[in-house]
Symmetry: C2
Subunit: 249 residues, 2 copies
């Protein structure tokens, strides 16, 4: 089960993408002790959290990537919430409206086998996005790092089967390229550290066969929940699919 809860925040001032790590802390405190401990010990992050702004309204978005996370984080905890206490600022943030989306994982993977996915994708990185490669931050949308990140996140949250494979990664890179972009760098501030990152749009053209195309589209569909790159549980790497993805309606 892939799940997503969008919580519209009332009258928030002085807010920015950087603040999502404070919301992350607040939400962790709300989770049942045993589950929180389990997440912490296993270093599993079957969720992503980010802040986003649409029509001047800020929302806190929490996405989950497996059954447990959906059931415990979205259903049992966040769906009942009407306010969040931010310890760092000693501030209560009220929630105006909640929208919950849930998609059985099977629907996405089944669509992968059947569908004729788009050979052109347009992806918007809506919160600061970055990668780590050879010890350095990379703040350009390198397709290899994007695909690798999505496959590894998929595997971490998956109970059945693994996706990541260096040969398949090579195939994805050989069979697709960025054909246009509009990007800017931006810093993501986390506990006093400024992480170089980027936001903006890229358009990808797939020249490989339909199977590779389905896989790339599925990865980005999954990326709507997992985010892409580093610190996606703390507000970085949230994406929207402007064109492409897997149509599961």
């Amino acid at each position: 089960m892939f799940g997503k809860i969008t919580m519209k925040l009332r009258d928030v001032k002085d807010i920015s993408y950087n603040k999502s790590s404070l919301f992350h802390g607040a939400i962790m405190e709300l989770l049942p002790y045993e589950y929180g401990k389990q997440l912490h010990l296993s270093q599993l992050r079957p969720y992503s959290i980010h802040l986003e702004k649409e029509n001047d309204i800020w929302s806190l978005v929490v996405a989950t990537m497996n059954e447990d996370a959906y059931s415990i984080i979205v259903e049992q905890t966040l769906s009942k919430l009407d306010k969040i206490y931010i310890k760092h600022d000693d501030e209560i943030v009220y929630i105006d409206e909640k929208i919950i989306n849930a998609v059985p994982k099977k629907l996405i993977t089944r669509a992968f086998y059947n569908s004729e996915t788009s050979k052109v994708l347009e992806i918007r990185f809506i919160t600061p996005t970055a990668f780590k490669s050879k010890g350095d931050y990379v703040f350009f949308p390198d397709l290899r790092l994007i695909y690798q990140s999505l496959m590894k996140k998929f595997d971490v949250s998956s109970d059945d089967g693994f996706l990541f494979d260096p040969d398949i990664l090579d195939e994805l890179c050989r069979g697709s390229k960025i054909i246009s972009y509009n990007l800017r760098s931006i810093y993501f501030q986390l506990e006093g550290v400024k992480i170089p990152a980027f936001t903006g749009n890229i358009k990808i053209k797939i020249t490989a066969n339909q199977t590779i195309s389905n896989l790339i589209n599925m990865l980005f569909e999954y990326g709507k929940y997992s985010g892409v790159g580093i610190k996606s549980s703390l507000g970085m790497g949230a994406i929207k699919i402007i064109k492409g993805g897997i149509n599961i309606e």
Copy 2:
């Protein structure tokens, strides 16, 4: 002698960066026959031509990179011009005002040896910029391709000494990196072919010693005349230095 003539164009409509190749053709026709033949035969391009827009006024800018080009193209030909005939559109474009800048090459190279150049550069790519690498177009500002292009252009227009050296290129790449950017892709249309390119700003931080820093700053100072990347004689790859360069005043 590095020279530059900026010709403000009167009431031009339907103009875009792509049109600079038509102006290039018109200017070539104005040059003395022998000099034009010499440029053509030697494949030398000791000049760059581009269109730019400032405060809603379009200018045609022609820069030259050696004595002959300055003397023949700027002084003898363009400084006297009050209109340009564009054959392709059967259109006469009038010139309102001309600004000529001339800088002895020595001033730039001497400044290189003395000055304490900036360790942070900000470069604006004002017309569509692209590179060719391994047969493919590259439409990201890869520092290696930028430095290589500037060094090779410098050498082509130079009468004395060569700058390009693979080891120095390695040093420049090791000693500098892009720390922020704001870029978008754009097509440059040339004789029906759409060349993928980019425009926008990058900020470069130099971590290497002062000698390398001076060289990088000098290369970009030179790039104000030569342009960077492919087709700079036809309107691509024009840059402005927002921060850095060699202060020759």
